[in-house]
Amino acid sequence: MTKESLIDQLKLQIIDVLNLDGVSGEDIDSNAPLFVEGLGLDSIDALELIVLLEKDYGIKIENSGDARKIFSSVSNIAQFILDNQKVS
């Protein structure tokens, strides 16, 4: 999967999993921060994203402290997935 289409897919998954009512894929800037500014996500949202990565992409994040860096933008998440997803 290309990074572009992964980013589009991720945006829809994030909206779904975090109940971001009224937000569409186009509303989310791929490079904008997700926490504090931008979408204003919080620590519970971070945990939900950790679950999303494990459930849908098979990637386990052991240390939730790493989460902030990985989740700093949708583009970053996509890159992290491409770097860590096991080739099947």
Binding site: D21, S43, E48, V51
Partner: protein
């Protein structure tokens, strides 16, 4: 009216009885062991679990053997600790001037897969306690996350002070369950090693189960309960305030009420769960109040986090510390791991001053602080009499499936076709300017949030008061059962289960108060009761004691009940000076 502690009891992995438990702790024993139980988790875990062998029916307990065998593990633990606390005195526990208060976060949640039965209702457990011990009053149930135990004791204290009752028996209990263990796992909060509160190597919580009971009364006894207060951080529903604002407020109020200065305080028994955030918050609060040099500990290194039992269990141990004149160290602590240090006790010592501050904090931003102290002679309490409230509460907002009323007038009507989420969301979008966080909430919180926004839509009454003067008093019948079922459904999904942290955080009914506190910046007293129905008498008693015994000047009262496609909300407020 001064309130004294007459007796206390504990049922834990270390045995039955407060004295037995205290002596085991002095010897350095801990209830935390390594367990392997696939009913709780597919992997082994550290936990503090009570052996079933301990739960034989006490010979004199007024129940047949057959009925005893029908009780759940939690119920047996509760009955044993209550019976032990009253020293088997039926006359005390069945007296009409004795109020029973049950505190728990999840009750018999391990039975959730057996289907919806009355076993799952917290007030049903409470009723059993009342029935078995022939108490004529409705047993109150407090379910306020991890502060439930201290909250229940505070309610008992205030009911006696206001002379509604002569005695209060508070019993707290919670059991180890897959439900709770999986939820905290999704929060990455479970420690892979026995918890180490405040330590640099701490990695989270260890869960535990226990039951504990405390008897309070108005007749003089060696130990007095001289101060108490609850507050809200108004910060985040699962993360505490970084600077411990709510906890500071509760501690300040409790110490003021007890008329104890920093120099007179002997020891602090903290919440100390062993998570990075909780322990850090507590160090900030203590330093912010100048209490960093008072010897302190967490008891969770011995018992784990016993949730709804914690406040009662840990108070019982604090009381034993005063009785024996000995303090207990903070098990698991070696080296300071919080940004600011404070005096964490590493060894058992002689207690120099006989007053102990006991605190707790919980999901929903709640905090409670109590002060226990040795009373060498009866304490004179001079407090101005608060005029008894005779009026009823006017519930300005009422919401039922299909209709919304404000001050008796129907302001919204939309056919309800059985989907609570859909109906509430549509009503919310139509009637309010909107709050983004609404859409992340569970149905119970959506119901409460819709109601509060309507209550304050054209009414800025709470702006007349300081945030700490506004109190929240909420109740319902089903606790958080609606969301509990959703969490359990996640666990039951065929194949690997992925508990959702966003669902788990709402499996506590007091979260609605947390959401309201955050939105409106309310930091005062807060209490969540679970009752069989909307009960004006009990709610007005709570209003009375809260106005009389705390700084509250405005109380927001809500009945927020929701289970599947059935819901009912009534919300109103009452001011102290009218």
């Amino acid at each position: 009216m001064a309130v004294y502690v007459l007796s206390e009891s504990i049922v834990s992995p270390l045995g039955i009885g407060a004295k037995n438990n205290f002596e085991a702790l002095i010897q350095g024993q801990s209830g935390i062991k390594y367990h392997y139980n696939t009913e709780v988790s597919p992997y082994p875990f550290w936990g503090s679990v009570v052996s079933e062998k301990l739960l034989c029916k006490p010979a004199s307990l007024p129940l047949t053997d057959r009925l005893w065998d029908c009780l759940s593990k939690l119920e047996k633990m509760i009955m044993i600790s209550v019976w032990d606390a009253v020293s088997e005195k039926m006359s005390l526990i069945s007296h009409p001037k004795t109020i029973l208060i049950f505190t728990s976060t999840k009750g018999n949640i391990n039975l959730i897969n057996n289907g919806l039965s009355e076993d799952l209702y917290l007030f049903c457990i409470a009723e059993k306690i009342g029935k078995i011990f022939h108490n004529p009053n409705q047993v109150l149930t407090v379910s306020n996350a991890c502060v439930s135990g201290l909250s229940g004791i505070l309610v008992g204290k205030r009911l006696i002070e206001e002379q509604f009752y002569d005695h209060a028996i508070i019993v707290g209990g919670d059991i180890f369950s897959e439900f709770t263990y999986s939820g905290f796992t999704s929060f990455k909060a479970i420690s892979p090693i026995p918890c180490r509160p405040f330590d640099s190597k701490r990695q989270g919580i260890t869960l535990g189960e226990a039951a504990s009971a405390i008897v309070l009364g108005n007749e003089y006894s060696e130990i007095a309960l001289s101060g108490g207060s609850s507050s809200n951080d108004a910060n985040h529903i699962s993360g505490p305030s970084r600077t411990g604002e709510g906890l500071k407020l509760a501690i300040r109020e409790a110490l003021n009420q007890a008329q104890i200065s920093k120099n007179e305080l002997g020891f602090i028994s903290l919440h100390g769960t062993g998570t990075i955030f909780n322990d850090e918050m507590e160090c900030q609060a203590l330093n912010g109040l100048g209490l960093e040099n008072i010897p302190a500990h967490s008891l969770k290194g011995y018992y784990g986090h016993t949730l709804g039992a914690a406040g009662v269990l840990e108070s019982a141990i604090s009381i034993q510390m005063i009785r024996h004149g000995k303090s207990l160290p903070s098990r698991g602590f070696e080296e300071n791991g919080t940004t600011l240090s404070f005096h964490v006790e590493k060894e058992a010592k002689e207690l120099k001053k006989f007053s102990i501050l006991k605190t707790a904090s919980g999901f929903g931003g709640c905090n409670v602080a109590l002060v226990f102290e040795k009373a060498n002679h009866p304490i004179q309490v001079s407090r101005s009499i608060f005029q008894k409230i005779t009026e009823q509460v006017a519930f300005d907002v009422e919401i039922l499936p299909g209709e919304v009323y404000y001050q008796g007038n129907r302001i919204y009507s939309q056919k309800f076709i059985g989907n609570s989420d859909q109906w509430l969301t549509q009503a919310y979008r139509t009637l309010t300017p909107g709050y983004l966080k609404f859409f992340k909430m569970d149905n119970l919180c959506k119901l409460g949030m819709l109601a509060i926004e309507l209550l304050f839509k054209n009414n800025s009454i709470f702006e007349k008061y300081l945030p700490s003067e506004v109190a929240l008093l909420f109740a319902n019948r089903s606790s958080s059962l609606d969301t509990d079922l959703a969490h359990q459904a996640c666990l039951n999904k065929a194949g690997n289960y992925y508990p959702s942290p966003a669902i788990f955080v709402y499996t506590l009914p007091n979260i609605i108060m947390g959401e309201i506190a955050i939105k409106y910046g309310i930091t005062g007293e807060n209490l969540f009761l679970v009752l069989p129905q909307l009960d004006e008498k009990n709610l007005m008693q709570q209003v009375q004691i809260t106005f009389s015994q705390s700084s509250a000047k405005l109380i927001i009262i809500g009945w927020v009940e929701l289970l599947a496609d059935n819901f009912h909300c009534k919300l109103g407020f009452i001011e102290k000076t009218r």
